[in-house]
Symmetry: C2
Subunit: 189 residues, 2 copies
């Protein structure tokens, strides 16, 4: 019943929220999504983590026993400029590479599937200790996986093929700016 | 902490799953989405219900106390034929009308917001006692709300402006067929 990957993810989140006071990547993206929504730029949401209910008091609306489940898709999706947008966001403490074990195989499959249907599909990876955050398209992610046997993507691959997302004032992580540049010829619409 | 709408929804779901053995609308749509996914037609998923965690044993990955929250968006979204698809699905036991109290105001706002960004945006409503299931575009839903003071949509409005989704063998609820007809000139792609 207990999924170790999901579990460690939750442990990490719990720690992060105390240590960094919610200034982690997930929080930055949530704030960006809120900014996009308020300014009618894009409607992109984080999906809730799926939970397996075991014991629920429906009269009180109280969940007494439940377990985290592995998400079947990515964490974020929505619409921007008529396009379906879908991505996964991850942080790493490594200074040299991003381990692919951070992303489930079925999440990568999902990113590829929606890409093939016309989505803007990508991952956002933050190297915490380098203060560098990258946007990497699923095209490039797929190419790396096909052409490499190693299970982690070196930082140089992100530097060469990804797009660095610079920290701004508001929103801190303006990934739509990258989408504009890569998919709409740099023109905001 | 306890939201009555969410609560009644969960009570209802709980009852339905025993009474109809999971043959309700939600189950039909989940099976259709599975069918679309397996056949590489569309990637549309139900979002998990958001849950507010109060007491979690992270070592065991066990949630000991939590509460259902009101969803901030609709239940279903994804991609079909390059288009972002977003909808809400509801059942009613009324034979005459569908009460708008079944859909939160912010869910309707969300349907309108994504429509304005180019989404295929709609609701699916099943009249359980009539065995009739309708696809109603957000355009038509919005028009009804603007032009009517009443808080429920009469069945005749669905019959006039909606599209009936006939029950098929597989998938039982083929709402993509309706999308093909209404948005892609009837051509499967």
């Amino acid at each position: 019943m207990i999924n170790k990957n999901v579990l460690s993810r939750f442990n990490q989140k719990n720690k992060t929220s105390f240590a960094n006071r919610g200034m982690g990547l997930e929080n930055d993206i949530n704030l960006a999504n809120e900014y996009y929504k308020i300014n009618d730029i894009a409607y992109i949401y984080k999906k809730p983590t799926p939970i397996k209910l075991v014991n629920v008091d429906y009269k009180l609306g109280k969940i007494k026993e439940a377990y985290f489940q592995t998400p079947s898709t990515t964490d974020y999706n929505g619409i921007y400029n008529g396009k379906y947008v879908d991505f996964e966001a991850k942080e790493t403490n490594s200074k040299t590479s991003f381990s692919l074990s951070n992303i489930h195989k079925h999440q990568i499959d999902h990113l590829v599937n929606v890409l093939n249907k016309g989505a803007i599909s990508f991952i956002i990876v933050r190297f915490n200790k380098l203060n560098e955050t990258y946007f990497l398209s699923t095209d490039d992610l797929e190419r790396f996986i096909k052409n490499n046997k190693r299970k982690s993507i070196p930082i140089d691959f992100f530097r060469s093929y990804g797009t660095m997302i610079k920290i701004k004032y508001s929103p801190r992580i303006d990934y739509i700016e990258v989408i504009d540049k890569l998919y709409f010829g740099g023109n905001k619409s």
